[in-house]
Amino acid sequence: MTREEVNKTMDEVFQDVFDDEGIHVTESTTAKDIADWDSMMHVTLCVAIERKFGIKFNMDQVNTMKNVGEMMDIVLSQVS
């Protein structure tokens, strides 16, 4: 899987979780950029990503992920 592919799949996950077709994420997207991305949605989002890519986030990773780029790093390190 390439980084672009991951990014594209990420978009789908975000659109699904936040129920908003207009969302497009980049490496530098953070919780501040998406209105509903609060601490309550954070885990829901993580779990959705886990399902989509068939991977598992460690709790420590859930606690420390700051932006979409970091999420993609973890995804790439586990899928390839």
Binding site: D60, V62, N63
Partner: protein, 506 residues
Amino acid sequence: MTILSFSFYLLVGISLVLYWLFPRQYRWVVLLLSNGVIAWLLNDRSYVALGLMYGMIIVAFAAGKLFDSLDEKKRLKKFVLIAFLLLEAGILLFSKDFVYYQNLLSISSISSRFVPPLGISYFTLSLIGYGLDCYWNKNLVEKNPFRFLLFGSYYPMLTSGPIVRYREVGNDLVSVHAFSYETVCFGLQRILWGMFKKLVLAERIGIIVNTIYGDPATYTGWFVWIAIFGFLLQLYADFTGSMDIIYGVSELYGIKLPENFDLPFMARNLSEFWRRWHITLGAWLKNYIFYPIIKTGAFQSFSQKTMGAFGKKWGRKIPVWCALFISWTIMGFWHGGTPKFLFVTLWFWFWIVIGEMLEPLFERVVNSLKIRTDCFSWHLFQSLRTFALVSLSAGIFRAESLRGGLSMYKGALISKQNPWILFDYDMWSSFGGLTIGDWFTVLLGLLILCAAAIIRLTTGRSVREWVLKQNLVFRWGLWFFLLFAVLIWGKYGPGYNTADFIYKGF
């Protein structure tokens, strides 16, 4: 000895001189040693308390090492984790909640001889956080027990936190600090600011609040609302005052601790309030309770079911609300576990959930009434609403018991409404022994607090940095004013027992 006593600052002074005189790489050792002395004195010279504190720190350190070496043996590792959590949380719950339940069940008194170490509520959470971090990520394990000992027992944090993560402050505690004149000045200024809030403001507002709470039969109706709004202000000045002193003392060593407050009364809803008030406690609950619970398999399958039953939008929310309920309940137990504290914390849960449920309805109302929401007045309304909801919870927090607090509210609602008391200046001018001068002082203090908040909001920097940019006469005038305000208007000295910080060793 408390962080308000003269002897404390004498010791801090001695410790600082040694700290800055030693070669840079050994400074943390000076800190570790002086820490032992000061922590012992803060614990009223109790070796038992000090020993228990160091014991709990060593247990956490050992747990970290075990997680590291047991990385391959998953089951054993999990077993160690559970044992670690049970031990640390058990001691915390025993020291805080046991007294209450013991009375409830009228078991003979064991805990009367048990002296919990000061700050156990704060450092235990920090230690548990460290243990979980190590369990999840072995790269975070500390190898040097002495560095970890300093982290666990760092004396500024014993009075009322903050709750910290080893990965965030551990390194800063032991890293090489070069002496900086500005940092030390900032530290002293922050201590002074904290003293001002506590001794001049909080103690005075406390007199009003105590008078009303002390005689609920006489003070009914509007008095109750005055008391609970007053108490929230008192709590704010008291708690942030103690935090300012703590950060200030820490800064004297060149060490910055994570902030606990960020203008909480600016918050527009309760969730935001808790991201601005007691920040480190909220963050701890989020990281170590809320997230792990939601991520469990059980919660995930629960989530699948609710989504099936209520659709995607609500189906996702229901498990979150459940996890929040558990978090807030744990927060209640952390505060003391009595019905009163459980009410106080679950109150927030209730309104947050209600708020989310009714959000679509609110939006429709706002839209149909064409209420503007992008203006100051709307933000003000939201902040005031949040303040009122928080006050109602704080009012119970201040009461002797849940029953007492609720009956006070009942008294406020049922008894004769008495708005005229607001204008009974004769009564207020000697209320609870306060004088006109005291009221003037309270008013001035609140104005200064507001001014500081406005400076922070408009400049986006700390007030101390803003002051540093001013001319000498203004700078010195300001610091002298605060110094003498504390010296003269401060409620301290023989004949006046300064109350402990409300959140001291909570």
